[in-house]
Amino acid sequence: MNARSSPHPAPPAPFTTVIGPRRPLLAIDLRELWHYRDLVLLFTRRDIVTVYAQTVLGPLWVVLQPLITTFTFALIFGKAAGLAPPELPGPLFYMSGLVPWAFFSGQITKTSRTLVGGAHVMTKVYFPRLVMPISMTLSNGFTFLIQFAALSVMIAVYAWTGPFTWSAGTQLLGLPMLALIMGTLGLGTGILISAATTKYRDLSFLVGFGVQLLMYASPVILPLSRLQKFPALLRVFELNPMTAVIEAFRAMLFGGAVPWDGLLYSATVAVVMLLVGVMTFNKVERSFADIV
């Protein structure tokens, strides 16, 4: 039975897992992630299903949240302060800013809790840690789709009833690209923060606050056309990678000039953030169980 009873040790078996002290920072085991694809989908499903468990309105909240904010903004910033641009009905202007913004800020705030929030599972069992932020991105994308559908309905209602005429064409095809840029930017920033919060918990307080601040430095509330008199402020707005995305979102949806230069900047920042995020996350996830 013992065919290998030679004086030499058996030839090394083809090991499937090799764990060592270091590994390249950008090494993502895609095959392993693929193996865990069912877990990605289950986490996604869990995120979607359980958020509204035991609520009366359930998934309706997904639509109500931006709607309520939209009408609040339309009332305060649009009607009272007169800051909305003349070419769009106020609610359409704010909703079309809030929906992509909600996607982006959801990306950051959710994925930034990956490691600290998931510690109770991750310190007990191994699975590729990236599974969590990826599934959060998917569930967040699902929320975005629903809110986008609500926005579409709103546009249809305005076009049907009011003086507003909807004029958009092939530019609509650019929308998925915007979603990709936002998703990447939010995911990269989120997992970077997530990695940093394992050491510096302060950051978790800063995230919500910081994202809020970032919104005021974007055209969600203030249209860029109102900023032409304040070039310094305009410069700050343009540094925000979300500015061009939201401008482009509105331009593609309602017709208008798409700021391609700005989008290129946003996409570059998104890719850089994703790379830095993945590298930091990869580094931290291997030993974060020791410090959490």
Binding site: I19, P21, H35
Partner: protein, 425 residues
């Protein structure tokens, strides 16, 4: 012997003590920059090669651990608390990464360490089976195929579509274990399952371990329970101080391990005048002596507690030395003094002397105990020490089918008789 499925080579894990958050953000940035360029981390906890640069203390939880495990082996991992067993398991189950060395493994690793991890309270039992299975690395169709079996094994068919938050903790454990048991891993890690759960759970765990090992897969079993280790394992590794102290056949390693207890911790001596006590009478040394010198203390074996004293001023025969045996919670199991032997005990000698208290076998339960020394003069307590000695009583042998520790502060072996009440015929 099958092929090698686990190869651990020079494995080490070190932690920096008290360093979390002590670095400034500038430090962190500097380290991050070095890392980005692929240089070694300038403050790496691992590289203690330059001891002159004391960047905070480094604790080596595990160092230079190497072993190879072949398919079908059941490896017991033993060692005292804090020896590094849990760290080794964490590294093997990939919860944290090693600081040095390599682990090479073949096949799927599952752990019975944390059953039910990742259960979501708002999802039903059925949904959680899928979620938990996927966390453990199972595919959806694998779970589909085994769902019926898992539900039947868990024994909670009627509540399977109820949210898990309405489950009792026992139901959660059963469901979690049912999922883990159907994972069919090539390598199974079992950590001290015998210490938790009820007899039924223990029986299921052991049954599952037997199944796994007979089907030619490999088990790593960590336990403090030598009886279980001896009866289940084919090989034992003893980890002491983060290193492999012994690796070999179970009987050999276990007895070396238990022997190490007999030599340490259960003997103490003080410099003259520094032992606990008073100027009148003071302890000089104390020891727990098994009947056979050097043999481990078991529930069966009688042993002696010896107290050495120095009597300087007490001239009467009024001094009465005693002991109290307490458990880890400071509960006194029993107290005894020299007066227990009757009134004809000889007067306490002047100068140095020893008193022996004989503890019979079949009295102590397994566990760790401590000795407190008392001295009375007449009916008055003259002094009472802190814990001066600690010792561990091992199970030694199994009574009945139960692997765990029996309930009870003490474990006397009592006589039982059966009287038939009905006389046939």
């Amino acid at each position: 012997m099958g092929p090698v499925v686990i190869e651990v080579e020079g494995l080490g894990k070190s932690y920096r003590l008290g360093s979390i958050g002590s670095g400034t953000i500038a430090d962190e940035l500097r380290r991050g920059w070095a890392r980005l360029r692929g240089r070694p981390d300038p403050d790496a906890p691992v590289d203690t090669a330059s001891p002159g640069r004391a960047q905070g203390k480094v604790f080596h939880a595990l160092s230079d651990v190497s072993f190879r495990l072949r398919e079908g082996e059941v490896l017991g991992i033993i060692g005292r608390n804090g020896a590094g067993k849990s760290t080794l398991l964490k590294l093997l189950s990939r919860i944290t990464a090693p600081s040095e060395g390599f682990i090479r493994m073949k096949g799927r690793v599952a752990s019975l360490l944390e059953v039910g991890t990742g259960f979501h309270p708002d999802l039903t039992g059925r949904e959680n089976i899928y979620l938990n299975g996927a966390i453990l690395g199972m595919h959806r169709r694998e779970i589909d195929a085994k769902l019926g079996e898992i539900i039947a094994f868990s024994g909670i068919e009627h509540h399977i579509d109820t949210p898990v938050k309405r489950y009792s903790s026992g139901m959660k454990v059963r469901l979690g274990f049912a999922v883990a048991a159907h994972l069919e891993p090539e390598i199974l890690i079992v950590d001290e399952v015998l210490a938790v759960g009820d007899a039924e759970f223990q029986r299921k765990c052991l049954g599952k371990m037997k199944d796994v090992s007979t089907s030619g897969r490999t088990i790593l079993f960590v336990s403090h329970n030598m009886t279980a280790v001896l009866s289940l394992c084919t090989r034992v590794v003893w980890i002491d101080g983060g290193r492999v102290a012994a690796d070999g056949p179970p009987e050999e390693v276990v007895s070396t391990y238990l022997g190490s207890y007999a030599q340490g911790g259960d003997e103490v001596a003080w410099a003259p005048g520094e032992g606990p006590g008073t100027d009148l009478v003071r302890l000089t040394h104390a020891a727990v002596l098994p009947q056979e010198a050097g043999a481990p203390l078991t529930m069966r074996s009688p042993f002696t507690i010896r107290i050495g004293l120095e009597n300087r001023r007490v001239h009467d025969d009024d001094l009465n030395i005693g002991i109290r045996v307490v458990n880890d919670h400071d509960l006194v199991l029993f107290a005894s003094t020299q007066a227990d032997s009757g009134t004809d005990r000889p007067p306490v000698p002047q100068g140095r002397f020893e008193v022996d208290c004989l503890i019979p076998g079949d009295l102590m339960n397994e566990g760790s105990y401590h000795v407190v020394v008392t001295a009375f003069r007449g009916a008055k307590l003259h002094f009472m020490t802190e814990r001066v000695l600690s010792f561990t009583v091992h199970a030694g042998e199994r009574r009945g089918a139960w692997f765990g520790k029996q309930a009870g502060l003490i474990r006397p072996r009592l006589s039982w008789r059966t009287h038939a009440m009905d006389h046939p015929g």
